[in-house]
């Protein structure tokens, strides 16, 4: 009995030892893998886009160079967490898709790609200036812009027509007027005012800017949210909400407006091209009466949200030149054009060579997304890229300023709240 017991104890110890050894050996074995590159990407709303990389682009590159390219898809909304993990631990994928101001946030962890950016620009008609707003950090390109996932007005042409509108209203005031009529006719508007990731910022920042207001001056220090312009934008938003929408939009996240639009509850929202895309697939009849337009103008112009998809190379990658060569190859017209084609302008390219690309003719209703590129900016504009910019977005300062006003708080109060928050955020950074 005792002997057997001892045996089993030893087995336990042995197993533990093997387990520990295995755990130590695991990464070592993986490191010795054949030469390959891994690119991390958020799962695309357009499934063929991901498939094209895996089945065509990666294979073509392997055939040409012998380097295997792995395409690691991460679920929607978790890319930032994954990029953070990879950057913090200096391990994982060699290249990654990025968004917003991440080129700045991960500045130290991304390879300088200024040289290939210049080559690509020269080869493909030059870069849109707006693209540089997101990727140039201290004069260095830290990412290669691929395309913008623009946020524009999605609206129902049939219902607008019934209300007397052949074209999409050109100004916010005219849109309000149309919305009042449409809501009375049982077709309210639905613009996200809750804590989603994109569809809220997508129209609220442009609205703020179009009234001549901003969070912070171009110096990145002077907080100017407490202004008459902001007050006018907030007052407009409150009316716009009360007279054209319904309470639920205050709690919406990014899925809700798509759902509401496709179930015919709302006649207008601000969104990427996904609504038209989904309608064409699942509700072809409805798709015929959907159109997309640039955001309306305010007293100080027309603005849009810059929502760029770019590619960066991690500094921890073993062979930086190999990663650069791959990115350079990927952005050459043959590859890049084909990849953009597959997504039919869901990603609006930042290179002028594609301004009249065939995919714009496939669905001309997407053209406003191209035209909006020139007036697109990141949240926090016109201040330069900063950590404060991220923090303000993470804390929903601008979104909540508008949302609280819509829920009943006074304009003065909500601006004072935003002012307090922004002062704290911008002072700390």
């Amino acid at each position: 009995m005792n002997g057997r017991f001892r045996q089993s104890r030893r087995d336990v110890l042995k197993l533990t030892a093997y387990g520990a050894a295995g755990a130590l050996l695991g990464p070592a074995v993986a490191r010795a893998a054949p030469k390959s590159l891994t690119m991390m990407h958020e799962s695309s709303f357009i499934p063929p886009y991901d498939a094209y990389f895996k089945n065509d682009l990666a294979k073509a590159y392997e055939k040409a160079t012998g380097i295997k390219v792995n395409y690691e898809v991460v679920s929607v909304g978790s890319l930032l967490t994954r990029v953070t993990t990879a950057a913090e631990n200096s391990t994982g994928a060699d290249l990654t898709a990025i968004g917003f101001n991440w080129a700045f946030l991960f500045d130290d962890k991304f390879v300088d790609v200024t040289d290939i950016a210049a080559e690509i620009g020269k080869e493909s008609g030059g870069w849109y200036e707006t693209a540089q707003e997101a990727v140039v950090v201290n004069g260095k390109w830290k990412a290669i812009p691929f395309g913008n996932i623009g946020q524009l007005m999605n609206w129902r042409t049939d219902w607008f027509k019934q209300a007397g509108y052949e074209k999409f209203p050109d100004t916010w005031d005219e849109l309000l007027e149309a919305g009042v009529k449409l809501k009375k006719a049982g077709h309210p508007f639905g613009f996200e005012l809750g804590h989603g990731f994109g569809d809220n910022h997508g129209w609220l920042y442009p609205l703020l800017w179009s009234y001549g207001a901003r969070e912070v001056e171009a110096d990145g220090k002077t907080i100017v949210i407490d202004s008459d312009e902001t007050a006018r934008a907030v007052d407009f938003c409150r009316r716009f909400f009360k007279e054209t929408m319904f309470e639920d939009v205050l709690g919406w996240t990014d899925v809700n407006n798509n759902k509401a639009f496709l179930s015919e509850q709302i006649s207008c929202t601000n969104n990427a091209e996904s609504i038209l895309w989904a309608a064409k697939k699942d509700f072809p009849e409805m798709a015929k009466v959907i159109d997309q337009s640039e955001n309306p103008k305010g007293p100080k112009g027309r603005f849009h949200m810059l929502n760029p998809l770019c590619h960066s190379i991690f500094t921890h990658t073993e062979d930086k030149q190999a990663a650069k060569d791959f990115l350079r190859w990927l952005m050459a017209p043959k590859q890049c054009g084909a990849w953009l084609d597959i997504a039919v302008s869901y990603y609006q390219p930042f290179l002028h060579a594609y301004d009249d690309a065939p995919f714009w003719k496939v669905e001309p209703r997407n053209l406003p997304y191209r035209d909006a590129l020139k007036t697109s900016h990141l949240p926090g504009w016109p201040a330069p890229l900063s950590r404060a910019q991220s923090e303000s977005v993470a804390k929903y300062v601008v979104v909540d300023m508008f949302a609280k006003a819509c829920a009943g708080k006074s304009t003065k109060e909500v601006i004072a709240d935003a002012n307090t928050q922004l002062k704290q955020i911008y002072r700390a950074s």
Binding site: L13, L80, G251, E391, A407
Partner: protein
């Protein structure tokens, strides 16, 4: 004892050290067995915890080196109006949801303790909300709480009680908090019910018989027999529930992400947004760690209760 039997023992003792024998020693072996869990705890709980404290004392942006700033992040949180809203939200959410789960769970456990047809099947079904992954069940709730698709709104409107489209469950700040509490209660109720049911079944039927003979009615049997004997279980299950609810993340993150206008932000969601979305690890850690003192007090209370001599 005879000499021959001693001899082998002596020769055995000769090799001064035998690894096998050393392992056999109670002191050594018990420590060896304890070591893996201790190492496990140190690595997966201790290290992150102390690293978190260290982070909270730094200005530590993502992917950059940190700078020691002392308590600046805590002071920053103190002056952040949203932080105080988060504190209130977390306490309301935890207190109301825990109370509902306690009362509801006890009720369910009492019902399940009765004899009826399909008792075992019902008990198994009871566990469903607890078994279904939170993210999945939360998506179902997303539909239930969307006025346009909500079965609740449909019933209310169809029965003529309210006008279409009915209440906005997640758009109204008070209803949003109430809805989240209901969903949390729905998910946590089975844990309570099953644990309390286990407690109920340990109560000897003789006690009830004795009470009945003494003339105790149903309420008195519950009040003077069931409740006192169930108290230790209720206490422990409540502590666990408070801890889980206090640190809840998934449900709120999926349903409202802290909206509308921070009306449902709690410690975990706010800290995550600051650290992961805002890239401010130091600040995020400070917000998350402010959860620790109240939770520590609760755990302390639990420990004291469990160590108290039972009379």
């Amino acid at each position: 004892m005879t000499a021959p039997s001693l001899a082998p023992a002596l020769t055995h003792r000769r090799p001064a050290f035998s690894f096998g024998r050393w392992l056999e020693r109670g002191g050594v072996f018990s420590w060896l067995m304890v070591l893996p869990p201790v190492a496990f705890l140190a690595a997966l709980v201790g290290y992150p915890f102390f690293y978190g404290i260290w982070l909270s004392l730094q200005d530590r942006p993502v992917a950059k080196a940190g700078v020691f700033v002392g308590l600046a992040n805590y002071i920053g949180a103190w002056h952040d109006p949203v932080f105080w809203q988060v504190v209130v939200n977390t306490f309301v959410y935890t207190a109301v949801a825990t109370l509902l789960k306690m009362v509801g769970g006890l009720g369910l456990a009492l019902v399940m303790n009765q004899d009826f047809r399909f008792k075992n099947l019902t008990r198994a079904l009871l566990l469903l909300p607890f078994i279904v992954p939170t993210v999945l069940s939360t998506v179902a709730w997303q539909w239930i709480l969307d006025p346009a698709f909500s079965v609740v709104n449909w019933v209310l409107v169809a029965s003529g009680l309210i006008n279409s489209p009915g209440p906005s469950w997640l758009g109204n700040p008070y209803l949003a908090m109430a809805s989240l509490i209901v969903v949390n209660t729905w998910r946590g109720l089975p844990f309570y019910a099953i644990t309390l049911l286990a407690g109920l079944q340990t109560i000897s039927p003789e006690l009830y018989e004795a009470a009945t003979i003494d003339g105790a009615g149903t309420w008195q049997r519950f009040r003077y027999v069931t409740l006192p004997l169930l108290m230790p279980v209720i206490f422990i299950v409540t502590m666990f529930s408070v801890i889980f609810t206090f640190a809840d993340f998934q449900l709120i993150y999926v349903l409202t992400h802290g909206g509308p206008a921070n009306a449902t932000h709690v410690f975990a969601t706010y800290a995550f947004d600051i650290a992961m979305v805002g890239g401010q690890f130091g600040q995020g850690a400070a917000v998350a760690l402010t959860m620790v003192p109240p939770l520590a007090l609760i755990i302390l209370a639990m420990a004291i209760y469990m160590r108290a001599p039972k009379t």
